[in-house]
Symmetry: C2
Subunit: 259 residues, 2 copies
């Protein structure tokens, strides 16, 4: 099987032009097939403020009403995605931007049943493996914004970590797939206040021990649960670490390798 | 050669949800290969107003400064393109949205040499025929927003009529290509105040006669000059007419057929 790197880049990196450009330069150098999924950053929030659209947060999560959906679509798919694509094209990386509606790439459904109505938020049903495979065969590099659709004409805001995991898992049956979560932290830390305490290898037993001992930072738990679920679904490995040294994450010198 | 319809939809239609949905329903029904290019409409202007960004117009043309480029990219590629794609997907039309940076679809250069600096405005150098052909082979329907790139990392605002013409001409060597400009008028009118005075067939001699006699509405001349240039470059025909009855434009019952 050919190798495939599926890389998720966090919102904090997207907000910092220098960090983003450095990251994209390293991303462009990855050999073989690759896919990038990007988050949103703070631009959507500041655009909403400028437009006087109030953002409702419930339990730390943004409610995506109709106006907010328009804003995140404009910012994620219009602004951020195309800036990334144009930059990668300038680095001779044949990037092509997509959201989940394009070519029916990611079909989702509006989240229901929760006590809270999160609005236009989508949970993923299906990733179009065939489309991604065709693009990769043509040496195109898909750059995916986390907006999906319900195939009934409605766009839906979707968690970018989840999109990355679903995309990686969908490709795992035809590619030797590694999923990389790159963000502003060095990896999974044994001591949340010490960036030098990175756990370099984390398997399920060790994870469960650490979790029981209360040693895993709460904000990291959904990411790690996702990562272990992805391994179960056939991924080779999941790597978590700092976007500043993507090259060293891939070679396993830095970050946390899960699996 | 297989048939290809390249359809441009004007900004006024994009602004009207009902008209747009009717148009897209008819577009989805076109048999064989097809490509849609859409304009911008008034949403970009109203967003700029809401954000307090002043728009500079010179000789009736918008100057695309850095902030305006961000706005048109967000609105054209983010909002309008993805609404169209999601709607078409709901109609079982396998639409996939692109701007000129995606897969290096449309390489352009920043307009220079004019007495006026139009800002981030691009004139087209090259359309990636190979990418469009690969997508059409996979029965994907490309939906193109009129934002191009210079391959050096800069996005450029580009006239949608020109994009449509360049795309159609690029495909004419491998497809039996018809270009359709659909907008809010019935076609080329003999009397600008009478929508019933549509000229159904217009060849170059007749056009030159009408132009000499001052009978062609000034605003129509760039569109028609473009159309005749496209015929010269190998297009089968160019059709101009009302987006409300796209089906009848294609069959030649309504609108003006040029060529």
């Amino acid at each position: 099987m050919n190798r495939l790197h599926v890389v998720k880049i966090g919102g904090n990196i997207v907000d910092d032009v220098d960090k983003l450009n450095h990251f994209l330069t390293e991303f462009a150098k990855i050999e073989g097939s690759k896919i990038l999924i990007h988050g949103g950053g703070k631009i959507a929030t500041s655009l909403a403020e400028k437009m006087g659209i109030e953002q409702t947060m419930v339990n730390g999560r943004r409610i995506t009403d109709a106006q907010t959906l328009e804003i995140v679509t404009m910012v994620y798919v219009g602004l951020i995605n195309k800036k990334i694509v144009a930059k990668l094209q300038s680095l001779s990386c044949n990037a092509l931007g997509l959201c989940g509606a394009d070519g029916n790439l990611i079909k989702s459904h509006k989240r229901t049943g929760a006590n809270i109505d999160y609005g236009f938020v989508g949970d993923v049903d299906l990733v179009n493996q065939r489309l991604l495979n065709q693009l990769l065969d043509q040496e195109v590099v898909p750059i995916i914004a986390p907006i999906t659709h319900d195939q009934k004409g409605t766009l839906l805001n979707t968690n970018a970590d989840t999109v990355a995991q679903e995309v990686a898992c969908a490709m795992a049956s035809i590619y030797d797939t590694t999923l990389i979560y790159s963000f502003e932290k060095e990896g999974v830390l044994l001591d949340v206040n010490d960036e030098d305490s990175v756990i370099s290898k984390l398997d399920l037993d060790y994870y469960n021990d650490l979790k029981s001992a209360g040693k895993i930072f709460a904000g990291m738990i959904p990411k790690l649960d996702n990562a272990f679920m992805a391994i179960e679904k056939g991924l080779k490995s999941v790597i978590i670490g700092n976007a500043d040294h993507l090259d060293m994450l891939i070679t396993g010198i830095k970050g946390t390798t899960i699996g």
